[in-house]
């Protein structure tokens, strides 16, 4: 029997009945072997309640063949044995197994790090709460612990960072998130109003509003058997690339701020404002909220808006390129960023790193190239940018280059675009396919965003799972600061710029 159902990111939703239901032992044995190959990485792995207990779904991405491998299994609900932990072999599975452990009390045998992921309560141990989070500790007279958070001194969100240091050198960093309980996934199911769901998708992570909403819209369109119009797909790509430009520029400025380099800070702040103001001129919101809607758009581009976007993007590209050339030749900046915060390629692959951070560690993870959908699949043949040095400077250099690349894409997409009136208004009531699993993969600026939904026989969504790239990459930050000076933590943190709310759904 086939272990996996093979599909891809452009195909429509798959029927639940078509997904093979396999034996966990066989799956475990296969994954133990298969995941050694860097062409595979796990996109999502979750459990859901069914009549006879729990059914587990696993989505595996094959980056070489552009296939998405889906499988499921249903262990005996009354078995006390627990499942063998895949995390013990492949750390990339850790957030998924930890989530299932805390949600359903499933025990994973030999899991090396079975700590709460988001929720304060542990089904097996009721005394375990967020206040008594079991931080890792090392004994030693020369070591000291530094705790940062969870109430953050700055304006960002809650997260506790516990450093174990030997003098100025960090030996270990543990990041405990899960202080916000927003109930995103249950809210998506509780109310079947699709406009409301769209608004929730927009709020999953404020800095990736466009990418998350695009993932939601594509997922719904697959369930509604709707093939988006090429113009609509084109405009979505422009929106995502604009978001990428804005965030990459903002991060360039933030990195400059953290090393006290005023010149690049102010230059990037001005450019970022210009970028998000362009988005505002398009749809009325600087972060692109209200821009993406399922099965249509409320803000189709007009000739004037195209002209405005092209003009602004051209100017941003020109000015950012000046900043970029200066940055690459600024010795004091290079001295701070080079050889700092290394995450070697094999480490990045082992922990399942994705997106821009993975590409900066010379690991090719880019949904736009490996699992393209919409306009990326048909018109735009994306060449991912990878960097070899695996350090903070690589992550900055990836941003420097991707901004220019995205600006070129926008110019290329809009240069020969003559908008017609055939973009439909959004449809929030289209009937959805019943008994199906639909997923969407979108490369946001931070990395791979994966949304998965299951429907019941009436076409109502019964399970909605969101995965922000931060879920994978927080561990990369913890690895990057090992043996670095503790004062270099801020620049490492900024170089990843991960989302707290994308993690704490």
């Amino acid at each position: 029997m086939e272990l996996y159902l093979k599909t891809n990111n452009t195909a429509s939703a798959v029927a639940l009945a078509d997904i093979p239901q396999v034996d966990y032992e066989a799956l475990y044995a296969d994954l133990a072997e298969r995941m050694n190959d860097s062409r595979y990485h796990v996109a999502h792995y979750f459990a859901t309640e069914v009549e006879a207990g729990l059914r587990f779904y696993l989505l595996l991405l094959d980056d070489t063949s552009a296939e998405v491998l889906i499988t499921s299994f249903q262990p005996d609900y009354y078995s006390e044995e627990g499942l063998s932990s895949l995390t013990a072999l492949h750390p990339a599975f850790h957030p998924f197994e930890r989530e299932m452990h805390e949600l359903y009390g499933i025990h994973f045998n030999h899991h090396p790090w079975l700590k709460p992921l988001r929720f304060p309560h542990d089904r097996r141990d009721k005394n375990s709460t967020m206040d008594s989070y079991p931080f890792y500790s090392i004994e030693g007279d020369e070591l000291h612990e530094v705790n940062v958070g969870p109430i953050h001194a700055g304006i960002i969100e809650p997260g506790a960072f516990r450093f174990i240091c030997n003098g100025e050198q960090v030996l270990h960093l543990e990041i405990a998130l899960g202080y916000q309980h927003r109930g995103v996934e249950s809210e998506m199911v509780r109310n079947q109003n699709r406009l409301r769901q769209t608004l929730i998708a927009e709020s999953i992570a404020g800095d990736s509003a466009i990418a998350h909403t695009t993932a939601y819209a594509e997922l719904i369109e697959k369930l509604a058997e709707y093939k988006p119009d090429m113009d609509l797909a084109r405009e979505r790509v422009v929106a995502i690339e604009l978001e990428r430009i804005a965030m990459h520029i903002a991060d360039t400025g933030a990195l400059a701020t953290d090393i006290g380099f005023q010149l690049y800070q102010v230059a990037c702040e001005a450019l970022r404002t210009m970028t998000i103001n362009t988005t505002q001129a398009w749809c009325g919101n600087r972060f692109g909220k209200s821009l993406i809607r399922p099965l249509g758009s409320n803000h189709p581009l007009t000739a004037e808006k195209i002209e405005l976007i092209r003009r602004n993007v051209k100017e941003i590209r020109r000015r950012y390129n000046e900043v970029r050339c200066d940055i690459l030749e600024a010795p004091t900046l290079l001295a701070r960023f080079e050889q700092c915060g290394l995450v070697p390629t094999h480490e990045m692959q082992r922990i399942g790193g994705v997106g821009m951070a993975a590409r900066s560690s010379n690991l090719l993870r880019d949904i736009r190239a490996t699992h393209p959908s919409g306009y990326y699949a048909t018109e735009l043949h994306h060449t991912p940018i990878t960097k070899r040095d695996c350090d903070v400077m690589s992550r900055l250099a990836t941003r420097l280059d991707e901004v220019l690349q995205s600006a070129d894409y926008i110019e290329q997409i809009l240069a020969d675009y003559h908008p017609t009136d055939n973009i439909a208004k959004p449809d929030y009531a289209a009937p959805l396919r019943g008994e199906a699993l639909s997923f969407a993969l979108v490369e946001g600026w931070r990395g791979e965003i994966c949304h998965v939904a299951l429907t019941d026989s009436c076409g109502n969504i019964t399970k909605y799972k969101v995965k922000d790239p931060s879920v994978h990459n927080w561990l990369a930050l913890a690895i990057a600061v090992r043996s670095e000076g503790i004062s270099d933590f801020p620049i490492n943190n900024k170089s990843f710029n991960l989302s707290y709310c994308g993690h704490d759904l």
Binding site: A153, G260, L263, V266, A330, R336
Partner: protein, 305 residues
């Protein structure tokens, strides 16, 4: 007496203005309008009107430290002449006193930071202690060079006689003033050693030690910082004006604008050092002042080099 009062008044003007010039320079280079020139003074005035909040983990040490810090800085401040004027206080050997008053102020703040029991402040104190210990030889040797040239060991007498010095020593004097400017960068916690504007506790040095202070205590720490800056900036300006034009009309503006603009430009156009590189940076200054002292000594012996 009038001379002494004018001297003190000028020193106060220098102390109050340097921060304003730094802010203005940074704003200009950033293409911004910038805050008011006197904004830092208004901020401190506001803090002076407020009470202070103390953490329950702190002891008397924490409350006394700002007074010691300010007192020591003020004492040192009163020993410095503005070019041809005469300082309020002066006696033979006061250069040693000034150096150790600066050290005393540092010790007070370090102890207070340790007293809070916060892990951030402990790290800040450890960094400050290390850099303080490293920068002290540079300060002493630079002062020793001045004393060597003039044969006196009080600032007032040194600069009084310095204008009759041999022109051979010009280069050495300029180098001494350069060393003093760099020492000021370090003492004042400026880029490249420290960044007073950072919001990141993990990277702070001076700022993190003041995190638990509020209200009037914080104001005292700020004022003491200005006085320390003025003290070192004025010594550097004096060393330069000995070479060019030994008048207070020249030396006082030089202290304000020379150091203010220098710091403003450096803070705009370069990044902070990696923390572990700071030790190398400071040791370079120590090496340089050792070289200055040696060169000065050789020149004094009238050896043809």
């Amino acid at each position: 007496m009038l001379v002494k009062l004018l001297n003190t008044l000028l020193m106060i003007v220098v102390a109050l203005s340097i921060t304003g010039v730094i802010n203005r320079t940074r704003a200009l280079l950033a293409g911004r309008k910038g805050i008011r020139f006197m904004q830092h003074i208004y901020n401190v005035r506001l803090q002076l009107r407020k009470g202070a909040v103390y953490s329950p983990t702190t002891s008397l040490l924490f409350r006394v430290a700002p007074c010691v810090y300010l007192g020591a800085a003020l004492m040192a401040f009163l020993f410095i002449p503005v070019a041809d004027l005469y300082p309020l206080l002066s006696f033979n050997g006061d250069i040693i006193l000034v150096a150790y008053l600066l050290a005393l102020s540092r010790v007070a703040l370090i102890l207070a930071a340790m007293d809070t029991g916060s892990s951030f402040e402990g790290m800040g104190a450890s960094r400050e202690a290390l850099y303080g210990a490293l920068v002290e030889p540079a300060l002493m040797m630079a002062m020793a060079t001045l004393a060597l040239f003039c044969g006196y060991s009080s600032f007032a007498q040194i600069f009084e006689t310095a204008q009759e010095l041999d022109m051979n020593l010009t280069v050495v004097l300029l180098l001494v003033s350069y060393v003093f400017v760099i020492i000021m960068f370090i003492e004042a916690g400026r880029v490249p050693v420290d960044d007073p504007r950072t919001h990141l506790e993990l990277t702070m040095i001076h700022e993190v030690m003041c995190l638990d202070y509020s209200g009037i205590d914080l104001a005292m720490i700020h004022i003491a910082g200005w006085l320390k800056n003025a003290t070192i900036a004025m010594i550097a300006a004096n060393a330069i004006s000995v070479v060019f034009c030994f008048h207070w009309q020249f030396a006082a503006p030089l202290a304000i604008f020379g150091t203010g603009i220098a710091i403003g430009i450096v803070e705009s156009l370069r990044a902070r050092n990696k923390l572990s590189r700071n030790t190398t940076y400071i040791l370079t200054i120590v090496a340089m002042s050792a070289l200055v002292l040696l060169t000065g000594f050789l020149l004094m012996q009238n050896i043809d080099i």
